[in-house]
Symmetry: C2
């Protein structure tokens, strides 16, 4: 039914080996033969079967990308960066989400492991121990936003602590002393580190911790919206809010508008991630800049490198720096 290498070989009066050589540009083939093979292949509309090839070469030319979720601009940016870089390296991208659920991660890992040459795993809530028991030991892996404590994998982490600390320090510089935080998901590495950065900045400014100012959140717009309602019921209310990510900040901004609270005059606000849409809100949203698509791209690069170097690859833990994207919502003038 389907046209195979044998059909081409037979029709072109050569062996399958020769056809294979032609299609892989490998080994010596006489020009006349090559021409004949290519012509025959075109005639028969032959394309090499990827599965057969994979079985033989033990390569799949695919990379798995396991995300905790696929919601909002943050993840689309990650995927975008990864896709772009994967294409450059001639790899396919197998995308899947785990919903941060242990079982789903396990099955995803197992079921993906056979069909990819390497794996990028973003799992801020589930510890990496799950990996060692569910993955073949020699499969290259890059961890994104994972708890990494001497795990034998490459890893990429955003400088959550530094970024959060920096932005809170900036809010302090605006003269605010009572600064609330809307926290991220519980037991989430990114969330915890950002909280730590927040506390550290306050402490260094000589401001004691105040549990009432640490409001629960879930990294979602809705949770930011709801958190603001709680925050505004405080007496006295804080002068500024640090939202643990931009989605939360956006929800918060929406609630503040609705309650008639002027931002930044009556309440300063800052987020984290600097998703592209942040600059289109009014006031434009101050945030901690992370080049999210670069994060995806870098992960692919590291993974491809690991795949090629195979056994003698040196694992690295990289921390990606952040910078401040100062806009109107914290009280800064909008950059021209």
């Amino acid at each position: 039914m389907r046209v195979t290498i044998k059909d081409v070989a037979q029709k072109a009066r050569v062996s399958t080996a020769t056809v294979s050589r032609v299609f892989n540009n490998i080994g010596p083939v006489e020009e006349e033969t090559r021409r004949r093979v290519l012509e025959t292949a075109k005639e028969l509309r032959y394309t090499p079967n990827a599965v057969g090839r994979s079985l033989s070469t033990k390569r799949t030319d695919a990379i798995g990308l396991l995300l905790p979720d696929i919601y909002g601009e943050f993840f689309s940016e990650v995927i975008r960066g990864a896709d772009q870089t994967a294409q450059q390296h001639r790899y396919h991208l197998l995308v899947s989400s785990s919903h941060n659920h242990r079982d789903e991660i396990e099955t995803a890992l197992r079921v993906m492991s056979g069909r990819v040459d390497g794996l990028i795993i973003m799992s801020p809530q589930i510890d990496a121990e799950i990996l060692t028991t569910n993955l073949p030991t020699n499969l290259p892996v890059v961890l994104l936003s994972c708890f990494v404590e001497d795990v034998p994998y490459d890893s990429l982490n955003i400088d959550n602590f530094g970024g959060a600390k920096g932005i809170v320090q900036h809010l302090l510089q605006h003269g605010h002393r009572r600064i609330a935080i809307i926290k991220g998901v519980e037991n989430n590495l990114d969330a915890e580190e950002r909280l730590r950065g927040y506390r550290s900045a306050l402490q260094e400014a000589g401001i004691g911790p105040d549990a009432a100012l640490e409001i629960a959140g879930k990294f979602s717009e809705t949770s930011g919206y709801e958190a603001v309602k709680k925050i505004l019921s405080l007496h006295p209310p804080p002068a500024a809010i640090f939202a643990s990510n931009d989605a939360t900040a956006i929800g918060a901004l929406s609630a503040l508008h609705e309650m008639g609270v002027a931002v930044p005059q009556e309440m300063a606000l800052a987020g984290f991630d600097d998703i592209p849409i942040a600059q289109f809100f009014s006031p434009t949203l101050t945030s901690v800049r992370v080049s999210i698509s670069d994060l995806g791209a870098l992960a692919i690069q590291k993974l491809v490198q690991a795949i090629h170097e195979k056994s003698n690859h040196v694992k690295q833990h990289v921390v990606i720096p952040t910078s401040l994207a100062l806009r109107e919502s914290c009280g800064c003038p909008k950059p021209h």
Copy 2:
């Protein structure tokens, strides 16, 4: 090196056929044997090799998702819906973007075609003719937002015309007569249909076409932002703007704020797509509601169905209805 079915068979003192039967829950296997095989498999940490299986069964258990781009919330929603439904049906998702570039689509199609059981292609700018020459004739395909004119593929299209017409009619009901449109990308099916809907609504209201009110755009925030600058220089300026998608509307809103134009009092505004974040802007953004994630989900469902029914599958062209998401930016009161 890698542990295969043979290793398990040997250790469990059975044939590979039996091991296969156990792992596929197929055919009769004595309970005692089954137990022994499973135990041995666990002991050796055996997992069936997907590639070998694929070669034998001629199934890959993967679905390709080819998108024009991966940017912003629209596409993350498509991917999210597709991923979720694919997982339910035990399919993997191979995601790739084509940047709307003909060459990239061609290579993507060719290179994907061997490794997926079916393909979802979103290509609002490139005609489907490209498919027939680059795809095996029997590969199930679902087209998203493609020009479909008796092409032999399943297709899903948003009711762009109806949605656009409806929202413009709504703007008319608010009493606005001069309504501008910020158009989408050129030669893009969705964009053209939305423009057609806009014109149709105006015509039926007895308002003649006015080329000056049809502003170029690119479905991006930036293009919306820039379009507004042009719109505000019109004499007299229009009373309302219909942006061809939400990204454009968001950019437009940002520009209007910056120029000090009150929305909706001085300028009413509406978008298209109703991306989740639309309701968090202020004013909340009126839009044409499309359940984007359902679009992705539905595409997968149709494709899975086509895969199973194989040859005797009846192709369908489905038009997905839209509804109006009326919020503040058009002048409606915010729903509670």
